[in-house]
């Protein structure tokens, strides 16, 4: 039974330690900070597992944007919130601990009992990847073999945005999202928000472009673009668009519409919905990815900007 590499053991211990910290620490804000660090270490674990695309997504989306969301929410929790002070009785905690250990133990046993010649679709993907024209197998799976998952997921994002907007009070409809509205940003933040975005946009486009043949892709690029937009919004250089602004909504929906359009065209030209005609696969996939990157970047930014708030709401809030 050869021991795994020490760096893997170290990473696994670090991940479990950070996860334990996130669960057991008392203050929510501290737990959110721990979660950001946990996400970054988890990205290293994904690199060790040979999935670089997932590592990019985990670092950017899993720990970056989710961390920002949770930190902003933790900062806005009411001070006298009973949820912060009450803790379940020791009885509940013991039963929960036993139950969860049992679940984890069963899962671990099943993981150890998985069949040794692990069944895999890698050979099938390798054989058919040339038909999709892209070199990166993950992009091939996301946009050719299982294109309906990616289409469904882009529509899930749009729906989450509509659901988020519907949480606003009635008089706030037509106002601007207010999560990121904060005190007048300190000058270093304004400086960063002026210097960094150009590089961020370049990195995002670069991630999209190499995503066809190397690890990268539209979601990772979109996350970087969204992060740059949010940085500008937090620094107060720009106002988030109004909820009813037609161009912003069009842009948010543009990527999914292009995807549906090309998919429907495929139903006639290439024999099946979401199929690509011979030889045209790569340009079509790249155009879908570009359109989706723009839309997903806008949607991620709007999800972070939160539901709209009435204009007269005090601009300056803690």
């Amino acid at each position: 039974m050869s021991l795994p590499a020490p760096v893997d053991l170290g990473l696994a211990a670090l991940v479990l330690g950070l996860a334990g910290w996130v669960i057991t620490t008392s203050a929510t804000y501290r737990a959110a900070e721990g979660f950001v660090a946990y996400g970054l270490v988890l990205a290293l674990v994904w690199v060790r597992l040979g999935s670089v695309d997932v590592a990019l997504t985990e670092a950017a989306l899993g720990s970056g944007l989710t961390g920002l969301l949770l930190l902003r929410a933790a900062a806005r929790l009411p001070a006298d919130d009973p949820a912060e002070t009450t803790r379940p009785g020791p009885g509940v905690r013991v039963v929960a601990a036993v139950l969860c250990t049992a679940v984890a133990g069963a899962l671990a046993a099943v993981v150890l009992l998985l069949p040794e010649p692990a069944p895999s679709l890698a050979p099938a993907v390798a054989a058919n990847l040339s038909a999709t024209g892209v070199g990166n197998p993950v992009t091939g799976v996301l946009l050719a073999f299982r294109a309906v998952d990616t289409l469904g997921e882009s529509i899930v994002l749009v729906l989450a945005l509509v659901g988020l907007w519907s949480l606003a009070p009635d008089d706030a409809w037509g106002g601007r999202p207010g999560f990121l509205r904060g005190p007048a940003a300190a000058s270093p933040l304004r400086f960063l928000a002026q210097v960094l975005p150009p590089f961020g946009i370049l990195v995002g486009i670069h991630l999209l472009w190499i995503g066809a043949d190397h690890p990268g892709g539209k979601f990772q690029g979109a996350t970087v673009l969204a992060a740059m937009w949010v940085l500008v919004l937090v620094a107060g250089l720009r106002q988030p668009p109004r909820v009813t602004s037609r161009p912003m909504r069009g842009l948010a929906v543009f990527g999914s519409l292009v995807f549906v359009g090309i998919g429907t065209a495929g139903a006639w030209l290439a024999g099946a919905f979401l199929a690509y005609p011979e030889g045209l696969a790569k340009p079509l996939i790249l155009s879908i990815e570009t359109a989706l990157m723009l839309s997903v970047a806008v949607i991620l930014g709007l999800l972070l900007a939160g539901p709209p708030e009435p204009d007269d709401a005090a601009g300056v809030r803690s």
């Binding site: 944007l65 919130d81 899962l107």
Partner: protein, 114 residues
């Protein structure tokens, strides 16, 4: 024991830890954090399965990797919606725990038909 099995076990432990946090924290935001832990544990399991299926020149089976990327984006959308709901609940009721008895402050609001 290959690194895939190690991280598979690590994923299983994360699922257990996350479930414990989900049960023991009354606050909705802490439950959300615990839910994200369970999600990352499940995706780590997918990653271990992908690593075990590494063949024909790829570092790992690309299908589970694609599923994990889709899952991460869906999990982020869920967290964004849930966070907005928690903040809105905190504004409306001044509390974010989920005990069933309705918060006292909203008793006065009349039944507003749609």
């Amino acid at each position: 024991m290959s690194d895939a099995t190690l991280f598979g076990l690590c994923g299983a432990a994360l699922v257990g830890l996350g479930l414990y946090g989900l049960i023991c924290h009354p606050g909705a935001l802490r439950k959300l954090l615990a839910f994200n832990l369970v999600g990352s544990g499940v995706f780590l399991l997918f990653g271990a399965v992908a690593r075990r299926g590494a063949a024909s020149g790829f570092g790992g089976d690309p299908v589970p990797q694609a599923l994990v990327i889709t899952g991460l984006v869906v999990a982020f959308a869920a967290t964004a919606l849930a966070v907005a709901l928690v903040v809105r609940l905190a504004q409306a009721a001044g509390r974010t725990d989920l005990d069933p008895e309705p918060p006292a402050r909203s008793e006065a609001t009349p039944e507003r038909p749609s």
